[in-house]
Symmetry: C2
């Protein structure tokens, strides 16, 4: 494995395949699920890569475990620290537990209760902070300085990116097993680590298949940045149900990758995310959280055309409070017909 | 493949392995999922065989497809007829669609709306009947006599049983991949086809591992029949949320098998099934219907001891109306702490 990836796509592949070996027996090889009845209604084929079934309820375990597994043991023993709205938190906490090392997670006090509760249940210490008044980076840095813990970034880290890229390898293998060549792959996008990892794997193994990042309205920094060719920020006043992917701007490491590998970004609103959660319930029997449902939403709304095509969507997480899930089901019921 | 199974367990295995070959590429190899946080709370290990992710939303596709695939083509062309509260209906309808033959499904008028809607969406003709005033068997027989369609029974058929048995083969393989020997396997039980198929496979491949059927209170005919050594009926006044497994008595073909292969039956009430659905939501990110959740419920309530053990539970289906699922989540929320 090279010690640091170069600028070329192919330099990343050895890191991603190495990550897949590290994750064997640790991460679930999540299924790629279809729904013929949904396909009938849409006039095309949608396949869901069900990362909500991943251990810890989201894909984040893959990157966090890969990162921690690559820290030399002497350093690793001092523990890890991370900041996260919840899914990365659980991924880091679960990976730290695997290695028997302490983890401290800095979480916003308004994160979904299930994410805070589960992060603690995995054995991590949780430090809550005020999203409007405190800097999670500053808190994380202070903890690292004090304890010698190593910071596990949520996306801006080549090891984390290569871990998420293992999903891309699985999509390629599962499409081959089913005799399918997808016309497009849609990936929920926050800081861009999942998009970077998957698009790097696809660029090597299925070149020419477009990988689109999908973002919630108000947090479409990656879509705008890709169009502009430079990193742009979101308005600080934006809000969304999609807590998992509310990031301020593309990452320093993820954006140069994504600029090379991604197709244009797609944007969906909260109502579309809720409708996609209801579709996940009725057509796939999956619990998908709002931020995890935006890729499916892009297929259902037509933001990505599906008619006559085969589209793979990543359902990136399922850590949603019951009240939000109930809201999604009741909103869909009020809307009458579903997709 | 022998044309009819004898009384010995090993006579069934060739039929089950033949079914597995027929189902390759048709049925989903559903994942066997764990939740370390749930295991922490229970003090043991629970693994969920997620048949709710099966095509059509339940395991029933396996038996229906296996049965229809074994009907000689000249007869098959005349179509099939079935009676079912919904999951077998969808399994038969989807299998008939695969073979391009007509299907008529006799369904109770009070079946969950999602099951009736989806059965029609798979292309089957649906004949609704009044559960209290009409005999579904008589209606099915009349349709068969009129059209020459072949009746696909929901459980009392060796081909159907062998199809359901493929789940047992997968459980054995997935446990081996994970380096696990289960201490018990729990299976939701209506007419006993799923229990028979799985227990036949386990008896051959993992002899000595007890397979317990799990039934809803009021519909514990298999538990009582196993204890009595003869087929006993349920009270006709009983009711349950577990629509998928509300059968009057054990099957003529399933019971002699189950009497040889099953461990004692377990019983859970509707409240336990609802709590298990909430656990499926929060700990496994799965949508499980009430009747599909009774095996998980037996593990959560302690009806089957879990402490210090590894228990595999089959989540047999996920076709549940949103209102019932919302009820499960809200009941769990009111109850405060979950398991």
């Amino acid at each position: 494995m090279p010690s640091s990836p170069g600028s070329e796509t192919q330099d990343w592949l050895p890191r991603i395949t190495d990550a897949a070996q590290r994750l064997a027996g640790v991460a679930v090889r999540t299924p790629l699920l279809g729904s013929p009845l949904l396909d009938d209604r849409l006039g095309g084929r949608v396949l869901v890569k069900a990362e909500c079934l991943q251990r810890t309820g989201s894909f984040k375990l893959r990157g966090a475990f890969t990162k921690i597994s690559r820290i030399p043991e002497a350093e690793r023993r001092r523990g890890v620290v991370a900041f996260s709205s919840g899914n990365h938190a659980q991924g880091v906490a679960a990976a730290a537990r695997h290695f028997g090392i302490p983890a401290t997670i800095v979480m916003p006090s308004d994160a979904p209760a299930i994410k805070i509760r589960n992060t603690r249940a995995w054995g991590a210490a949780v430090r809550l902070y005020d999203r409007d008044r405190e800097s999670r980076e500053a808190i994380g840095d202070a903890i690292a300085a004090e304890t010698g813990a190593i910071l596990v970034r949520p996306y801006d880290d080549p090891d984390v990116i290569s871990g998420q890229g293992t999903i891309g390898l699985e999509i390629v293998a599962q499409c081959a097993e089913a005799g399918i060549r997808p016309d497009a792959v849609l990936v929920p996008c926050g800081g861009g680590g999942l998009s970077a990892g998957i698009s790097l794997a696809l660029a090597d193994r299925l070149p020419g298949v477009p990988v689109h990042p999908v973002e919630p309205a108000g947090f479409d920094d990656t879509a705008r940045s890709l169009a502009a060719g430079e990193r742009l920020r979101n308005e600080e006043t934006a809000s969304s149900l999609c807590d998992a992917i509310m990031t301020p701007m593309p990452g320093e490491i993820t954006f140069p990758v994504n600029r090379r590998t991604l197709a244009p970004g797609l944007v969906v609103d909260d109502a579309a995310a809720l409708a996609a959660m209801a579709c996940g319930f009725s057509d796939f029997k999956l619990v998908i959280e709002p931020g995890g449902a935006v890729a499916l939403a892009a297929a259902l709304t037509g933001a990505c055309p599906v008619v006559g095509r085969t589209v793979v969507v990543v359902a990136s997480g399922g850590n949603v409070d019951a009240a939000v899930f109930v809201n999604a089901l009741e909103t869909a019921a009020k809307g009458g017909s579903h997709v």
